[in-house]
Structure formats: C-alpha cells, structure tokens
Subunit: 385 residues, 2 copies
C-alpha cells in the first residue's frame, strides 16, 4: 500500500482509513453502510467509530447540508440508561439544571458536574418514563460515573448502556424526508421532544434534535441487525431530496457555536466558562454535586470564557491542536480549540477560550496557526452570523 | 492528497495518518517525536493518541523487539491518583485482589469490578506511599468510576489524573540502555517494582514492567515540556543498542497472551472468564464491589473462557472485528478477538473467547476470516510457545 501525501510518499500498514481498527474501537449498525458510501476518515468517541469525512470536501458537505438532507451515523452518542425508583433523584444530583418540571417525551441539555464543579460531560437527557431516563452523552464514560455514584449512594436504580444507536437526519429537507418514511405524525414533534414510530414491527424513538443548526431528527435506533435496512429505507426515500451520507460538519458546527466536549471544554472547566449559566439557577432549591463550589466560583468570578473569533489570512491549516491566541501586545491570552475557514463568511472561524480582559466582542487579537502565520482576529459572540 | 490503496484510489481530507485529529484526541509529550520518527498510524486509548504502526511492518518490528530495544509512547496509560487517608480503603473495595501486603514501591495487576462482577478495567496499581496510589489504566474512564465511588461513599480522598505520561523501553537490551542513561541502580529494580531516578533535576518514577514479554521498563514521566528531551536522551544513547521507535506489537502481544481491555474482554465479562482467578482468593476476608455476584458466578460456573487458538490457511487478514469461531459441526462457539500471523510459529495466532464444551487444549475448530476462508484451528493454552 502506497500513500502519496502532497508529494510525501510513505507506506502504511492498516486496514482502510489509517486509524488502526480493532474490536475495542466499536463498529456500529451503520459502519458497513458508511464504508460503502465512501467514508474516508473516522474519529473515536465513546470507544466507537464516528465518521468524520466522506469523498466530498468539508466545504462541499457544508453547502449540501444547508440546502438538502444528510444521514449521519452518530451511534457514538451512547445512552446511559438510569432505571428505577431513585432514577430522578440520581439524575437531579448530577446536574445544576432543574429537571423537576421535565415531561415524559422531552429532551433537555444537562451539563453534568463533579464535586469541583468541573464538567464531566454535557449530555442530552431524555425522560422516557417516570423512573426511566437516558443520558445521551458526549465523549466520556458517564456510565462509570453514574454507576459509581449509584453504588456509593446506595440508590435503587439500574444503570446500563442499552443497544441504542442514534442515526441523525439533518438539513432543511429532513422533515419532508422523515414524513415520507415514518408518516405525517413526525411533523408534530416539537424541538427537543420525541415520539415513537414503527419500523418493521419495532418501536423506534425519534427526537427533533441533532448536532447542527439546520434542523432535523435523531432516530435512537434499537436493534443492531436491522440497522442496514433502516439506512437503506431512508436512503431510497431520500434520493428525491438529494440525500447524502455525512457527519457533523466542522464549518457548520463552529458557525452555529455548537461546543464539543474535550475540544472546547474539559473537566478542568466550569459551567460559567462555557456560558452554561443560562441553563440553571443557582438559587434553585435542588441540591446537586458541586453546588457549593459552583457558588464559590460565581462569587469569585471567572477569568476566561468561551467566545467566537473571526480571523483573516486566508484558509487556516487544520486545527489539529489548539492555536495560541495573543493580545496585540503579544501576551498569550487564550487558545482557539476548534477552527476552520468558513466559505460563506469568507473568514476563518474559531471557538476559543479567552482571558477576561480580552473577551469583549470586537476586541482585536492575533492567532498563531501552524503554518507559522500570525493572523489578526476579532472577538465575536456565538453563534456566528 | 491522493491515496493509492492497492489499486484503489481516493482522496482523504485530514492531517497525517487518516485519523481526524483534534484537541479531544489528546497529544502526548512524545507525539511530535513519534511523528518525526515515522509513525504511520494511531489508535485512541483514554482519549489520547497511541502509535500503532511505524514505517516498518508489524513483522519487522516483532523481530526487532525480540532482539534489540524499542522506545514506545504509551502515555495513554493514564494514571488515576488516589490520595488521602481513605485511599487504601477505596482501592481495596475496587478489586478482588488483596492489597493488604502491598509494599510502597510495588506494582500489582488489579482487575476492577462493578457490582455485577463485570470488569471495569484491568490496571496496574502502584503504591507510591501509604496513602497514595496510582491506577495505571487500560481504555475506560476509571477516573470517573473512582470519583463516583468516592463521592457516593463520602471517603476522605482526592482523585485526579496527574500530568504523568509513561514512556516504555522494551526489549532484551532495555536494561543495558537504561543503565547507560540512568545509572547501574536501574538493574536493582525487581519485576513489577519501581524506584526513582534523576532526569535534569526532576525525579522520575521508573518501573520494571511493560506491555511485552521481552522485558523492559516504563518511565512514568512527569513534566510535559521536557518530554522531547527525555526522548532524545534515550534515543542518542540507544543508537549503540540498535534502538527503534515502536509500539505494543500485535504479534508479540498475542504470542505472550497479553490481553487488551475492550478487545479480549469488556464490562460484560467476569474475572473467571478471563482467567484472572489466579490473582485473588474469594475466601479472603476483605470486602469488594461485586463480591456477592462473583461468588454466585463461581458456584454456577462459567460457560466461556479466554483461550489461545492456532490456525492455518496462510496469513489471515487484519482482525478489525472479531472472527467467528465454529465447531467442526458448524455451530458458532466463540470468536477470535485479536488475531495475526506469527512468523516464528508459522501459524496464525488468536486470542479468543470459547464456549465451555470446546475450550479444552487440542480441540479442533473452524475460524471464518473476512476473506471468507474457513480455516482450521486448534485450541491452545496461553501464552503460545
């Protein structure tokens, strides 16, 4: 096997995309399909494959996503199921967001905190029943955190990772396609709500949600073996809507200000730094892990925050590790954690963590990219317009 | 960028090896070095890069490792530090293996169990001090499990992931090289013990251990920025020992019967299935999580177990997902979870989970590989000879 990389020739010794595959990097019900539809790169989330690029460029996929419909294998959004009489109690102590008024059939974005008010994960919570919840997670083993808490607190719950593999249908034509496949009832699902639909005699949970700002649905697919049939059904019906196999699009994600756990923030960050304070009231009467420290942080104030940055100098190289950000006087004041050129805004766009003296919208700063170019940038609110 | 893959031509859109890189997939103090020494593929363990292939083939690296010395970036073996008056108490309830007689300076292989006696991880435990331990982990967020337990049980401990990045020096010439770099005292470290050594004024923990059967050391390196200097020092001194940049070698690992969490076993498996019962006595008087269920499992017996399989038919294709294993009558009786051709044994070798009517050494069975060849195999004990 010979690879030519812009003139650089080298041999690689692995099957497929260059990521070394094994059982530990789990395949999904749809991996065979994304391979047959031309996946060219993966990443690993929750010990599972997430497609990250197809034959078309990220830019072509961006324009396509804004105008059509795409099918995404996001099975790596694993579910942590919490089941039993103490389920609500356990979920509530895991997040500063109150879930007391949550309805069955609703989704809620719930940052989870540790005892220091550091962020464990930022899942979407689904209330399936009075005593049954799913945390649909980003990249950390919330299963282990939840199991540890439940064991230690001696709660009456079962905690498991069900065989559920989300498949996202995203883009402006998603609703018409989904109505075609599952019936008109799909149109009645409100944003961040879910209902159940029949598929070959199985009941499938479908939510109006997804990791884009273009609208769409996520099918929380249960039933590994029927996966390819579900993919084919959507694909065949999708042809008239110009469907394409895709994945979360970096240009669109950054433009929409959608954060990625592990990239924009980690367990080292607190909810104020991530602008999550809009999701909770600290004077709510419910107790949660890290509350005391979160109150201290609020009192003391924070010294850095996630902001947008627009920057010049032509398309930047891939942000494979953070770009350092400097004040106009040359002081290091933060980093861009995800960045890419946006062809619609005709600027580079970045999600960043910026120190407090420099985080106001309109502030000028300099970004050093890995081509050793110093590019001028401007602080912006999120999402980018 | 154009890739030619055995005649198959396609474009890929990512930096370097085909795995899409971002801050979430953490780099190590040695990533720049392994890149400059010709890494051609990575995998992801504990949200961190693990090199998996270099310019030479796995086979060439296997022969080299058996005769020389290699330097491996195994920073992904993250440490979970447990610190405080309740540290020993917490560690002890996490594992069926008794740690009551463990000495400071000792390492111990300690499978961790959940309440069902399913395996959470199989780390190496290091006793740094009376009240200070490291769990040096395989691929799951033991940090979250440990933090959840400590919070729930209200234990007086701190739990953190220190900035420690193991660098392994493996192979028969490892001791001579390490003595050259750190002094003769290194020879006095017994297997699965550690001592401290100076490096540019810093104290570094060095253990005689590693993920190979060829002997060697692991430097639990603290101090991110000095990483390249440590690499260079070992490299320069290693030239006379024919040093090479390497990584855990699949041929050698399977031959040595070294298991990989997530590949050979998961949270669905119990210690008896993994032949871990040699590490603990169930009638020991210490209590641990999952003890009751482990006793039940012992009473009821297990119906599958990890075994070796030798099989024919010429070099098998990469075992990117498990190969199904059948009895001679065509019944599915297990799977090979890691497999590769061994050039010394001139057979394919596999680590497998095999049903109890078929797991005896010498039993014949059939393996179906992804080239759709049915290959005859024979059950073998581990390690392979």
């Amino acid at each position: 096997m010979v690879i030519l990389f812009g003139g650089l020739s080298r041999r690689i010794f692995m099957g497929g995309s260059g990521l070394n595959m094994s059982r530990r990097i789990r395949r999904t019900p749809f991996t065979d399909k994304v391979e047959s539809y031309g996946v060219t790169g993966f990443t690993v989330v929750n010990h599972m494959l997430l497609p990250k690029s197809f034959k078309k460029s990220v830019e072509e996929d961006y324009w396509h996503l804004r105008e059509n419909v795409q099918i995404w294998d996001v099975s790596c959004q694993r579910q942590v199921e919490i089941l039993g009489p103490d389920a609500e109690k356990l979920v509530q102590i895991m997040t500063p967001r109150s879930i007391s008024k949550m309805r069955i059939g609703q989704c809620l974005y719930v940052p989870l905190l540790d005892e220091n008010a550091g962020i464990i994960n930022d899942p979407v919570l689904l209330k399936l029943d009075k005593n049954r919840f799913w945390l649909s997670i980003a990249d950390s083993d919330v299963l282990l955190w939840t199991k540890g808490l439940a064991y230690g607190l001696n709660l009456n719950v079962k905690i498991l990772e069900p065989q559920v593999f989300p498949l996202a249908i995203q883009g402006p034509k998603a609703e018409d396609l989904m109505a075609y496949v599952f019936g008109e009832k799909i149109r009645s699902i409100n944003f961040f709500n879910f209902k159940y639909f029949d598929f070959l005699g199985t009941q499938q949970l479908v939510a109006r949600s997804g990791y884009s700002k273009q609208g769409g649905f996520e099918i929380y697919f249960n039933g590994f073996d029927l996966g390819p049939k579900l993919w084919d059904l959507i694909w065949e019906n999708g042809k008239k809507f110009n469907i394409s196999a895709g994945c979360p699009n970096l240009i669109e994600r950054i433009e929409g200000g959608l954060l990625s756990y592990g990239n924009e923030f980690t367990i080292e960050n607190n909810p104020f730094e991530c602008n999550f304070d809009k999701f909770f009231k600290l004077d709510s009467d419910h107790n949660f892990i890290g509350k005391e420290n979160l109150e201290k942080i609020k009192k003391g104030g924070i010294n850095k925050k996630i902001k947008g940055v627009l920057f010049d100098g032509g398309p930047c190289p891939p942000c494979t590790k953070p770009f350092p950000v400097f004040s106009k006087k040359g002081k290091k004041i933060g980093q861009i954690t995800s960045g890419i050129f946006n062809p619609r805004l005709e600027k580079n766009t970045g999600l960043s963590m910026i120190d407090n003296d420099f985080w106001d919208d309109g502030n000028l700063l300099d970004i050093k990219t890995f081509d050793n170019v110093l590019r001028e940038g401007i602080v912006s609110s999120l999402p980018f317009n």
